[in-house]
């Protein structure tokens, strides 16, 4: 009993945690119909890192092994205060300060060692200051600036720049700190680790730099690299996902912001051309235009670039060109840049996913269901391979993966015809996860009463439970449709067919490989406000048809109605009883509530 009690608590905790994770699910569907989907890619510090930067890893000032003499004493004293206090309490620095005096007075120190002492002087002040002690931090900062004016040792200079940035960060100078971190990130010979710099940039700017970056934007136009970083960060996309029930229209505020950005870009046109040619300026201006909700403006910039310009190979350019076309409702024109992005060796996996999902949107609009299926399947395979279960949105590029899989599911269930599925399977036999398409084709064939064909496919893909079940169904169906039987025999055969269907809910017409119990959340065309009227009407109709076609009990009921309505009266009570069981077993989600209610009343009288 004691063991049971001991085990009970962790078990409950485990169960609760499992339920928590089990309850959250991704509901991405037709995300390309949201304008935010087409915003420029989110950028973080890692996107501004130059490749193959050569870094060094030398000990910081004061952290080398202490061997003897005054410098050793100083190092030893500094090492005692070098670890920050978890409660941010400033350390006692009288001992290191005394050691500093002693080391400064030591005539035997080399030039390098003297630089180390000077840097330690600044570092001791910095350690002594609490984050709110502006005066002491400013003193340390002055020492670091003076140090950088004269010091020659590269690793100490790099370290000093890092501390200078750190002090700027503590003093709330986002711009000063950010520029130093960014420069160090791409400086050969930097003694600061890549991880430290990326973390520092993330801490300094967050996702988009906030109001601080916006108000200091013009200060970044000292170098093209700083300007490109600042503009791209400040134009990082945002996507409100409906948490605010009564969202405000921020378009006027955003328009003012981005109009300011455009003016800055115009004013510093030559700076941005100077290093990288026209590309940087074009990309930044397109990005800003799209962010402002001006796809026509972005398209105009793209159209002005010669077709042989190397910018056409850039993933960002292709994405933004596709966006400006899609948002301008020129869906066909969005195809080429999306294909370019998908095939580009420069594109990351997430950028390829964006292209693939964008292509799903293009092909939905242009009616190319086969290609839509291709890219939806690619996304499905990729999301599973990368073990993506939830999408959080644009900031981490996860929304492009269509993690829910519902876009593919609806293609397989309703949007693609049986012939299109069959043709896709035969033309792409080796495509990853083609087995899922085959399984879905088989399900679709059963819904059309083409049981033998379906059973063959199940057999070929080793669906060991469905294959024999569908073969049995094929026999029963065949029997119920024999023309050489009399009415009584045929109705008895129909009754047997209906009994078989009602005894196998979700095992014949329902595609159990796709939905994992979440189908009801995907069949929402009636509430989807991103569709044209024609699309919406068509989707509502196809969702209704899907629900009718896949519900074994409903189909059994329809067969039983034929039996009840026939002249074979002795079968009526049995058929009515079974029909009633079928109707009462159908979930509320199926709909047709009024019809079912009336039928229930009628059937009760016939039992």
């Amino acid at each position: 009993m004691r063991t049971c009690r001991l085990l009970k608590r962790p078990f409950v905790l485990l169960l609760g945690t499992g339920l928590l994770f089990g309850c959250a699910f991704d509901d991405t569907l037709r995300a390309y119909l949201n304008a935010h989907f087409w915003l420029p890619f989110a950028k973080s510090a890692a996107n501004f890192e130059r490749r193959n930067v050569r870094r060094i890893s030398a000990p910081f000032a004061g952290m080398a092994v202490a061997e003897g003499g005054h410098l050793a004493g100083l190092r030893s004293a500094y090492q005692k205060i070098s670890t920050p206090d978890p409660l941010d309490r400033p350390p006692e620095v009288s001992v290191p300060r005394q050691a500093l005096e002693a080391a400064r007075a030591d005539p035997s120190l080399t030039k390098r060692e003297r630089e180390e002492v000077a840097l330690l002087d600044a570092k001791v002040d910095m350690r002594a200051a609490s984050p709110q002690d502006a005066e002491l931090l400013e003193r340390a900062k002055k020492k670091l600036i003076a140090f950088l004016a004269t010091a020659r040792t590269p690793e100490f200079r790099s370290e000093a720049r890092g501390w200078l940035a750190h002090i700027d960060y503590l003093l709330g100078d986002q711009t000063g700190a950010g520029k130093i971190y960014l420069d160090e990130l791409n400086r050969d010979g930097s003694n600061l680790s890549r991880e430290t710099l990326l973390n520092s940039l993330r801490l300094n700017y967050g996702y988009d730099g906030g109001p601080e970056l916006l108000s200091h934007l013009q200060e970044y136009f000292d170098t093209p690299e700083h300007a490109a970083f600042a503009i791209q960060l400040v134009t990082n996309p945002h996507w409100t996902t409906g948490g605010d029930r009564f969202p405000r229209d921020n378009s006027e505020i955003e328009a003012q912001t981005y109009s300011r950005v455009v003016k800055l870009l115009e004013a510093h046109r030559e700076l941005l051309r100077s290093k990288n040619g026209v590309n940087t300026l074009a990309l930044l201006t397109m990005r800003t235009a799209l962010r402002m909700g001006d796809p026509a403006g972005a398209k105009k910039i793209a159209d002005s670039i010669p077709s042989d310009d190397q910018i056409h190979a850039q993933p960002d350019f292709n994405w933004m060109l596709a966006s400006s076309n899609f948002l301008s409702h020129d869906y066909a024109a969005a195809e080429a840049p999306l294909l370019g992005l998908f095939r580009s060796p420069l594109a990351s996996e997430s950028q390829k996913a964006a292209a693939a999902y964008g292509l799903c949107g293009v092909y939905q609009k242009t009616g190319n269901t086969t290609e839509q299926l291709r890219y939806a399947l690619w996304l499905y395979s990729g999301a599973r391979k990368n073990q993506m279960w939830l999408s959080t949105g644009l900031s981490d590029l996860s929304v492009y993966w269509a993690v829910s899989g519902w876009d593919l599911n609806l293609l397989l269930e309703t949007d693609a015809s049986v012939d299109q599925l069959r043709s896709f399977v035969s033309q792409n036999p080796d495509l990853q996860d083609i087995g899922l398409v085959k399984y879905s084709l088989a399900v679709r064939l059963t819904r059309e009463n083409r049981y033998s064909e379906a059973a063959d496919i199940y057999q070929s893909i080793h669906a060991l439970r469905r294959a024999p079940r569908i073969r049995r169904l094929a026999d029963l169906y065949s029997e119920a449709n024999r023309t050489d039987l009399n009415d009584s025999q045929r109705n008895e055969a129909k009754l047997r067919l209906a009994e078989f269907l009602s005894a196998n809910p979700d095992r014949i017409y329902y595609n159990d490989a796709l939905w994992h119990g979440l189908q009801r959340y995907a069949l929402e065309a009636e509430h989807d406000d991103r569709l044209t009227r024609r699309e919406r009407d068509a989707m509502i109709a196809s969702e209704r048809k899907l629900q009718d076609d896949q519900e074994e009990r409903w189909r059994a009921y329809l067969i039983l109605r034929e039996v009840i309505g026939s002249d074979t009266t002795y079968l009526r009570p049995k058929a009515a009883t079974l029909a009633l069981e079928c109707l009462r077993g159908i979930s509320d989600r199926f709909g047709r509530q009024e019809e079912i209610r009336k039928a229930d009343i009628e059937l009760r009288l016939l039992r």
Binding site: Y32, L33, N34, P247, D249, L327, D529, R530, T532, R533
Partner: protein
């Protein structure tokens, strides 16, 4: 001879001051300062373009305690400045205590530290914080303890900050220790609303208590300290079973009913409406069930009712007029509370200020606001109606026109709006439902569209 000019000056001064007093006492339109409580849930409409109010009492946090493992009581005070605040000349940071009794003095330094940090944050945002208000419903028998607590809090606050407290009317009856409490503060705010439990056996629906200036003026003025008067501008819904009115079941439970809005009931044909006014001139809308019906998980039998009690311009005007007569150390009124954006029961700030006589009464015509839904392949927008008359006693029709034909329109749940023609919507707004910012639904058009509204 030298005394004559002095006497002349003295008598002239006396005469002038008498005139000033009498003219002041004869100024029914004397401008009181107006303040709002900005509570958890309150939100600022970005289209609020009126002048800054005099003061805002911002609920920043709560004082609470726990007893881990049944041991020693621990005290906490957490505070956070809301992201959006209405523009005001002065801000007060309010800490509320929801418990019974009085907080322990050990929480005073914690409050002090929190206030320091909040003050720094407020400074960064250019908010002029002038004090702290403690909203503590101390039992009348614990006022001595409360005074000690206030004394301790003052010693821990940053210098220069004032202390205000909300006050219960029961404190001011004779024989209590309220003098000690008032002594410790710089101002106090007696509240003339929710004097009794709205779910209690007394069954009174009213929120607002009538302000008897003749009775209360001398009571509040005797302390020689500035005071404001708290006036209700919010509303409430409660479920009233039929037995509560008939007296057949003595303890039939009246419960506060926050689950459902005025529109949800007004559009439900199972209910019929009765209207009345309480003694404070609040509007009481009683929706009585004609037959058995359910709303969500709540079951209503025939005769059961849902009652909405709403502040009105008349109730606010009457209260403010009565408050003015208190004179003396009265500095103004404080309204509870600034509404949330989707609040359909509280009065909007511009309504309140107009009723209080602070701003001229120019009711704005009805207008629509469209919030972009950011759809990629169609134009989609959320349509809001504003400026409808919240106290109109009959159903009103509004015609909303679009410059482009609708692909379709998805109305908000329970919103009685329908497509009248390819480019027109008809809204049948039930009586008394035109309050605040009404979300009508989402409009989908193929091309960009402009919307206008006309009352029929």
């Amino acid at each position: 001879m030298r005394f004559i000019p002095l006497c002349f000056v003295l008598s002239t001064s006396l005469l002038l001051s008498a005139c000033a007093v009498s003219s002041w006492s004869q100024q029914p339109g004397r401008q009181l300062t107006t303040a709002f409580w900005y509570w958890q849930g309150s939100s600022v409409d970005p289209t609020w373009s009126s002048q800054p109010v005099d003061a805002v009492f911002v609920q920043v946090g709560n004082i609470r305690s726990d007893r881990p493992g049944g041991g020693t009581e621990r005290w906490f005070a957490y505070g956070d400045l809301p992201k959006d605040l209405p523009p005001a000349r002065d801000y007060w940071l309010v800490y509320r205590f929801d418990g019974t009794g009085v907080p322990d003095v050990q929480v005073a330094p914690i409050i002090g530290e929190e206030i320091s940090q909040l003050q720094a944050t407020a400074q960064d945002r250019n908010l002029h914080v002038i004090g702290v208000q403690l909203d503590i419903d101390s039992p009348t028998g614990s006022l001595v303890q409360y005074a000690r607590f206030l004394h301790e809090v003052r010693t821990k606050l940053p210098s220069g900050l004032r202390i205000s407290i909300t006050a219960l009317l029961d404190w001011f009856r004779s024989g209590t220790s309220v003098d000690g409490v008032i002594n410790e503060v710089d101002e106090f705010v007696p509240q003339f609303y929710d004097l009794s439990d709205p779910t209690g056996y007394g069954r009174k629906a009213a929120i607002t208590a009538q302000v008897d200036a003749v009775r209360w003026g001398p009571v509040f003025n005797r302390f020689g300290k500035p005071f404001r008067i708290g006036i209700s501008t919010f509303g409430r819904a409660r479920a009233v079973p039929v037995a509560a009115n008939s007296g057949t079941a003595k303890y039939a439970r009246i419960s506060l009913f926050g689950d459902v809005g005025l529109m949800d009931i007004a559009t439900n044909s199972a209910f019929e409406i009765e209207t009345s006014r309480d003694p404070a001139n609040e509007l009481v809308l009683t929706f009585r069930a004609k037959h058995e019906t359910r709303i969500d998980y709540n079951r209503f039998g025939p005769g059961d009712a849902i009652q909405f009690i709403l502040a009105t311009p008349e109730s606010v005007r009457s209260a403010v007029d009565n408050v003015r007569r208190m004179h003396g150390n009265l500095i103004g009124v404080a309204f509870f509370r600034w509404p949330a954006t989707e609040d359909t029961l509280a009065m909007q700030p511009e309504e309140v200020l107009a009723a209080a006589g602070n701003t001229p009464q120019h009711p704005k015509p009805a207008r629509v606001e469209v919030v972009n839904g950011h759809c990629a392949a169609v134009q989609c927008g959320d349509i809001y109606l504003m400026g409808a008359d919240p106290f109109f006693p009959k159903e009103t029709h509004y015609e909303i026109r679009s410059s482009a034909n609708f692909e379709y329109f998805l109305p908000e749940h329970n919103m009685p709006v329908r497509i009248l023609s390819p480019s027109q919507l008809d809204l049948s707004l039930p009586a008394y439902c035109g309050r605040g910012r009404l979300y009508l639904g989402r409009a989908i058009t193929a091309t960009r569209s402009e919307f206008t509204v006309e009352r029929q």
